[in-house]
């Protein structure tokens, strides 16, 4: 169906565009930047920040002069004339930004977002005085969820993206808007039977880092500086893809080996692929699937995603016994380091600090689990998100593109694995080509899993809301692999911001096209 086109003008530039697109979309497609905070392509237009105001010529009903409209939610019409930076627009836009600033207590000194922050960028670009109004949210609470995610009420600008992420996105509905008018705040619902699964989708959709991961980079920085322990990195393979966005490189230009070099520059003594344990896990889990049904009625459920495990434990305790007993990837890899590798090299495991680096917020919680301990100590000591490591790199002025590649360390198997982030564990038994076709799309897909001569019905799911649906059809698969984040780990709560459905698909495509190895 051919979509109707219309002719409009933006800043006197004639543009032919598709009818029904918003002013914001058309401007973006033509390289014209309109600032915004609340707009996110993953969710319906909210138009509440009112920063994207533009002037539209043509008499408005009441005043007869041109009117200001929010570009994010107003569709283009034939003959429309838009001005994005008139004096009138600047006055309103800047004043709204100023007032938004006064809703956000600045904690720039320790914020991983400092060098990426939209608020600071706009303040500088538009020369906005950020101190005319006193901060008004200084006494708001900071809601913390386990050690993984937090909503800092002192910094919230009321854009509601986190609520959309938790409800429209994940269907967990743990966050709500409480209170009226000025007093409104984002808070956990006061309802029994609803719990946070720590997926961090709220954090990855927040424009101002009010919803964010709980920071652990300071601990890592301290350990690297003190040099009292051997600080070892477990690097998730797909970090090299999404980090390109933060460092303005094309996908594929950043190799895992350059990241290893950067980490070693920071002081990490060794850098391992987080997926190092995956081959062993695949074997263990396939055995479990085959051995089957001892005490387990129904399908085997994956346990590699800590947010999914938390979901099952809280929402479907009846299915806990269906969870695979194989350890999660970071835990298994951490164990490999602290046991086998340490022994082989005659290192005291108590002198090793294992730091995992991945796009995951729930992994922070996972490090504290009872099952994630080896000889009473955590297999992984600290889990950092992609954002936190990006911050550490930038803080140290690391030019990732210019770094000379250094091999990743290996222990047992390949130095670099290339698991894309979904169906991680069972990949050796799947038709990879078929699997890779849509693995980053939201939703679920069923495949045939072949282990030796045995065939199993394998279902992979991206996004917890789709998993909720699948749990109603337990008899339609033998093995269910769930990643709680939409798009899988490359859409994870710890990924760089922005993360949108479109970017997730682009990252996935890049992941498949480019190889991690040199």
């Amino acid at each position: 169906m051919v979509k109707k086109t219309v002719k409009i003008k933006i800043n006197d530039q004639e543009i032919v565009c598709e009818e029904g697109k918003t002013i914001f979309e058309v401007a973006a497609a033509n390289g014209i930047e309109i600032p915004t905070l609340c707009e996110h392509p993953d969710f319906p237009h909210k138009a509440n920040c009112r920063v994207c105001a533009v002037e539209v010529k043509g008499p408005s009903a009441s005043s007869g002069r041109a009117k200001l409209v929010p570009a994010c939610s107003v569709p283009v019409r034939d003959g429309m004339e838009v001005i994005t930076a008139s004096d009138r627009v600047k006055r309103s836009r800047n004043l709204n930004l100023e007032m938004i600033f006064a809703e956000h207590v600045e904690k720039c000194a320790t914020c991983v977002w400092r060098l990426n922050c939209k608020l600071l960028a706009y303040a500088e670009k538009f020369k906005i005085p950020i101190n005319r109004f006193k901060d008004r949210k200084g006494d708001r609470p900071i809601y913390k969820f386990s050690n993984a995610v937090e909503i800092d009420g002192t910094q919230c600008i009321d854009c509601r993206n986190c609520i959309d992420a938790c409800s429209l996105g994940q269907n967990i509905n743990y966050l709500e808007l409480r209170g009226k008018g000025l007093d409104q705040e984002v808070a956990p619902v006061k309802k029994k039977g609803v719990e946070c699964i720590l997926c961090g989708q709220c954090a990855v959709h927040c424009p101002v880092s009010a919803a964010q991961e709980q920071a652990h980079w300071q601990e890592v920085e301290k350990a690297l500086k003190e040099k009292k322990k051997r600080v070892v990195a477990l690097l998730a393979p797909y970090v090299r893809i999404s980090l390109c966005e933060d460092f303005k490189m094309n996908y594929g230009e950043l190799k895992a080996e350059q990241l290893a070099a950067a980490l070693k520059f920071l002081g990490f003594s060794h850098v391992f692929d987080l997926g190092a344990s995956l081959p062993a896990l695949a074997a263990a889990q396939s055995r479990e699937l085959i051995k089957g049904e001892k005490g387990r009625r129904g399908p085997l459920l994956s346990s590699c995603c800590p947010a999914w495990v938390r979901y099952v434990e809280f929402y479907r305790p009846d299915l806990v016994k269906n969870l695979a007993t194989a350890k999660a990837p970071q835990v298994a890899s951490g164990e490999m380091i602290k046991a086998g590798w340490a022994e082989k090299n005659k290192f005291d495991p108590r002198d090793i600090l294992v730091v995992s680096i991945s796009p995951c917020t729930a992994k922070k919680f996972e490090t504290t689990r009872r099952e994630a301990k080896i000889k009473g100590r955590p297999a992984v000591d600290i889990a950092l998100t992609t954002r936190e490591i990006a911050w550490l790199f930038k803080k140290n002025n690391l030019d990732l593109a210019g770094l000379k590649a250094v091999s990743l360390d290996k222990f047992d198997g390949e130095a670099v694995t290339d698991y894309p982030g979904s169906g991680q564990i069972m990949l050796p038994f799947l038709d990879k080509k078929k699997y890779y076709e849509k693995f980053a799309e939201e939703g679920s897909e069923t495949f045939e899993l072949k282990i030796g001569k045995k065939k199993f019905r394998f279902c992979r799911v991206n996004g917890i809301r789709h998993a909720q649906e699948k749990l109603k059809e337990l008899d339609t698969f033998d093995y269910l692999e769930v990643l709680a984040c939409p798009g899988g780990c490359i859409g994870g709560g710890g990924e760089p911001i922005p993360t949108t459905r479109e970017l997730v698909c682009a990252r996935a495509a890049a992941m498949l096209k480019t190889k991690a190895k040199k």
Partner: protein, 349 residues
């Protein structure tokens, strides 16, 4: 003649405050796509100083329900909803239920929760409240005639509008409307008088024209325009209320603060210019020394970027009071220091 032509001939305009031509709106809903349509009577009457809808419900409930029934039949609507504020619901629920039962029309009486507040009277907010959502306005477009209650075409009209429709259908409409008078006047209350009467005529006819220096606020004590004694030759707009203020009785600072406090407390909080803007205005206007330049900036920003009509209305009483009263009075008559008056004159246009 069919009812739509009768309404058109009578030139009925909406009596909820926006004065939109009734026939046009009815036609839009009629022509909207979809077979499930709704009719909502907005009886929230949240504008301070406006009491006419409560009066009409008390004395003419039958006509109001009749007007709704006419609309429901004309549109083939699935249901009517009488969206009434909590206070009126408590007082008149039996009366309303009786009239609905008598008319035999599918009309649900919906008691508006108190927390919905002033913004709960805004039509898209009313729809959200009926749907069980937060009391906040919706994006417009789409407008209720094409996408309203449960996204279906919906006719939203005021109590008095439906009353007028009933009169028109019976051939008894005489071009009158209900005015609410209050404030520093002898006879407060609701009065029925010709719709084309000027403010001055209404004050005279109700024996309320003051002998002392005064100004008025018309259309609502919250969002209405403030006019001085020389500006009373025009008709009353908005929701048809006149609030009389004695010039000497009130401190300008107090008046300004009252208006902004009202808006700040009723702001739904959805958008930056209103949620933050009314808060900062209140903060500034509460101080001894007011930064009038910032006040002007905040006032300008509201109609330009506010999400809904409440935000756009905030500057109306404040600006009109300053321009029509403060600026034209000699400094002695207005209780403000000369330099403050000068600063106001310079900053607020």
């Amino acid at each position: 003649m069919d009812i739509l032509s009768k309404i058109k001939k009578a030139n009925l305009i909406g009596r909820g405050g926006a004065c939109y031509p009734v026939a046009d709106k009815w036609q839009m809903v009629k022509e909207a796509k979809g077979d499930e349509k709704y009719v909502v009577c907005n009886a929230s009457e949240g504008e301070p100083g406006v009491k006419k809808d409560g009066y009409i419900i008390e004395h003419f409930a039958e006509r109001v329900i009749d007007g709704m029934a006419i609309a429901i039949e004309f549109l083939g609507a699935k249901q009517g909803i009488f969206y009434v504020n909590h206070h009126y619901f408590k007082r008149h629920k039996k009366l309303l239920a009786t009239e609905v039962a008598k008319s035999g029309t599918a009309i649900e009486i919906f008691s508006k929760p108190v927390e919905a507040g002033y913004i709960g009277g805004e039509e898209t907010t009313a729809l959200n409240v009926i749907e069980g959502k937060r009391a906040e306005p919706r994006h417009r477009p789409p407008f209720p005639p094409t996408s309203g209650l449960w996204s279906r075409p919906t006719l939203v009209n005021n109590v008095e509008t439906f009353y007028d429709v009933s009169l028109v259908a019976a051939g008894e409409y005489q071009g009158e409307r209900f005015y609410t008078l209050s404030g520093d006047c002898l006879y407060e209350g609701v009065f029925k008088l010709p719709a084309d009467f000027s403010i001055e005529k209404i004050l005279k006819a109700t024996h309320n024209l003051p002998k002392f220096p005064f100004f008025v606020q018309v259309g609502g004590d919250g969002s209405g325009e403030v006019l001085n004694q020389k500006q009373l030759k025009k008709p009353v707009g908005g929701a048809g209320s006149i609030r009389v203020w004695s010039l000497e009785k009130y401190q300008p600072a107090r008046l300004l603060l009252n208006w902004i406090t009202f808006f700040q407390g009723e702001s739904c909080g959805q958008c930056t210019p209103c949620r933050e803007g009314t808060y900062r205005l209140k903060e500034i206007l509460s101080q001894e020394k007011v930064d009038w330049n910032t006040v002007a900036e905040l006032l300008d920003n509201l109609p330009d970027t506010a999400f809904c009509a409440l935000g756009c209305a905030v500057p109306t009483p404040i600006r009109s009071y300053i321009n029509n009263v403060l600026k034209v009075q000699p400094a002695g008559a207005v209780k403000l220091p000369e330099e403050t008056l000068r600063a106001i004159r310079e900053s607020i246009k």
